[in-house]
Symmetry: C2
Subunit: 420 residues, 2 copies
């Protein structure tokens, strides 16, 4: 029969790919825990209405994978985590100890055009600080993000976290006579500027209802790099990122607005300085989301970072270390059918002593077994033939030097401990 | 507005729940790596046809979550991992280094009636040994399973791994005149015996086409505890589990057959001895699956273990340790608005020294900050008020004894290192 193909936009994680995913998860864990954040997770399936509350039309109507389950409910594969977080906080009500610092790493799904840097099934780091409305809280979350960049060797020459504030933008747009319903539309206009060429963007702005004068004012506003000084929130935010030692990663950018509807204050995204990729991470303050999903009003701030663009940027920067899965410490060969069980007993003995030990499950020719151990990256192999069994010894072969030594069985563990 | 509810059969992983999931993943990693297995993962979405190949009607038609994506393809949320593994091996073709030892831990979905011990979204450990058809290979995989039981404190008094062999059953059924199409039906009859009461089961067997004589023969066969001695494979298998030091966990059980269609040889499942739960893990040899999804024929064996029943059994046994998420080493309070940034700098300094450090992001009353640190389980808090800032000191409070000491700022890191 013909080969069954994987679903477009999904990825197979062979051990070498999985080693990268685990490495990234470990780095994220260590950075998040350094700031006192706790790991959590939401379900992968949620009711569609959870996202309808605040996530914005593009995400819900165009990108979410939606289906009716066998009971007839409309279910979405989670396209993002923040609404689940808000729901979990809302449902715990008074039982949640605030402020709450939570992080997560897991799969998400969005139906997007597949291309380099995008997949339909991807992993995301989410990190949020709930229950505090100070700019210092936003700054801390951004500092966690910058700390991950540092931890993997990405520098401010390569990556910048660009920051803006929706309340500031709202007041700037107010000066241009843009308010009420036009506000959300103008946010979309700002969000799309870099995704379109200049002419198409101006046409889109005009379609959305912006006058020629407003559009000129908007363009001027998007070029004003000093506007942040008029925002108390941003002034305090930048003082905090300074105190947290990450100011070289962080800068004001009046063009940042973020696409999701639920942001209320400071927003930001990390970008490669060369401008080759989509945002590496994006987030902001969302003070109304917990109440929007039915809880008491609780302020919150946080971001998400996808694995696909992050890995691309890391590869291009040359900062990606050689990551390999964890091979066994020792490899036990199987000399012949008669000694198979004795080899298994030897492997068991080594495992009991705490060594990761792989055993060859078939009495094929020894050279083939050595070749296998070598390709697996296992540094030492043990041979237990009839002669060794009779003499009460084991032959230990160093796969790097090719040297081989006979070791008495009762001294074996001590001998092997010295090799590691 | 009213509270948006989670989807039935899904779970929220609050940090305390997530701590268990991470703990289990860690135990699984350590046991799997002890035998030289490498972590991998498949996609979460697969084409439905992948399961149609060999998984059996119940799983595909009744349990799988299936939907058409926006491109019209029929997609399933993976109900199990083995077909994805077979597809990945088939697709890698000659590039796969055999024997291949792989393990994985991730989410799966089955539309089942929700009750204690079942959820529709659950996690599963999968572990497989590909490319070897020896009974010793089956035994090794079973030994990995038994090693996990041991590692978490579950004993043979609580859990047994019950083993049978489909080739043996086939020959036994042949003696009763059951073969060809009736064979698969009779496997289903055997599989359902414990899920039905005696009368209903006999009626079901008769509906499937078994004669009265065949049914009597079948019942006798299901009670014959010595039949394994007639199976060379099982004799060799039990010798191997003995050599691997797990024989006290393993026993022959003629009623084990497993529900999935793709098994070809030795099959097994782990059960609580008290008989309160569904199988804790289940697996077996499946030598035809890789070729069924389009690859070259490669023999394979492995099992899956779900997290839900495992956690229940662990809780009931009293073996479940107190698992908590990883709290910060130190907690930095915020004395007042003026000293906020100085507190952030202190926290940053501690993190640079390698301490997990949480900071209170708002200048609320100190007792409230202490209470928070205490409930988070953080053992030491640091206070940096105007007096301390002026004197160049930090007050360090032991949350357990309540004692407080003033430490010079330049000696702080050394002082804190001694506390851990």
């Amino acid at each position: 029969m013909s080969m069954i193909q994987p679903v477009r936009g999904t990825r197979d994680f062979y051990p070498e790919d999985m080693a990268f995913r685990s490495w990234l998860h470990g780095k994220i864990r260590s950075v998040s825990e350094a700031f006192g954040y706790q790991e959590y997770d939401g379900p992968f399936l949620e009711r569609l209405e959870l996202y309808a509350a605040k996530s914005g039309e593009e995400l819900v109507k165009e990108q979410a994978y939606v289906f009716k389950d066998r009971g007839g409910s409309e279910i979405a594969l989670r396209p993002e985590l923040t609404p689940s977080l808000a729901r979990m906080v809302a449902q715990h009500g008074k039982a949640v100890l605030l402020p709450l610092r939570w992080w997560s790493f897991g799969p998400f799904w969005r139906y997007e055009r597949t291309q380099k840097g995008r997949s339909r099934e991807f992993f995301q780091w989410n990190i949020d600080l709930i229950g505090v409305d100070t700019p210092a809280a936003d700054a801390e979350v951004v500092a966690v993000g910058a700390s991950l960049l540092k931890a993997v060797g990405l520098t401010p020459e390569l990556i910048r976290i660009k920051v803006n504030n929706r309340r500031l933008v709202e007041s700037q747009l107010g000066n241009l006579g843009i308010s009420g319903q036009m506000l959300g539309k103008t946010f979309q206009v700002i969000d799309r500027r870099e995704k379109m060429d200049a002419a198409a963007w101006r046409a889109y702005a005009s379609d959305q209802g912006l006058s020629e004068t407003q559009l000129e004012g908007l363009e001027e506003m998007l070029g004003d790099l000093n506007a942040w000084k008029r925002s108390e929130e941003l002034v305090s935010f930048f003082a905090s990122t300074d105190a947290l030692g990450v100011s070289e990663f962080v800068e004001y950018d009046p063009t940042i607005i973020r696409g999701l509807d639920y942001y209320t204050g400071t927003v930001y995204e990390a970008r490669d300085v060369a401008g080759n990729h989509r945002a590496i991470l994006g987030g902001g303050r969302y003070d109304d989301l917990v109440s929007a999903v039915g809880g008491d009003p609780i302020s919150a701030t946080g971001f998400a970072m996808g694995d696909v663009v992050f890995q691309l940027v890391l590869e291009e920067s040359g900062a990606l270390p050689e990551i390999r899965s964890n091979p066994a410490n020792f490899f036990v060969t199987t000399f012949d059918d008669e000694s198979t069980e004795e080899s298994m007993r030897l492997a068991t003995e080594l495992r009991s002593a705490g060594f990761r030990t792989e055993w060859y499950p078939e009495a094929v020719r020894l050279p083939r077994q050595f070749k296998y151990a070598d390709r697996q990256g296992i540094p030492f192999t043990l041979i237990l033939g009839p002669e060794e069994i009779q003499n009460g010894t084991v032959a230990v072969k160093d796969m790097h030097t090719g040297e081989q030594e006979n070791v008495a069985r009762e001294e074996l563990i001590t001998y092997l401990e010295r090799l590691l």
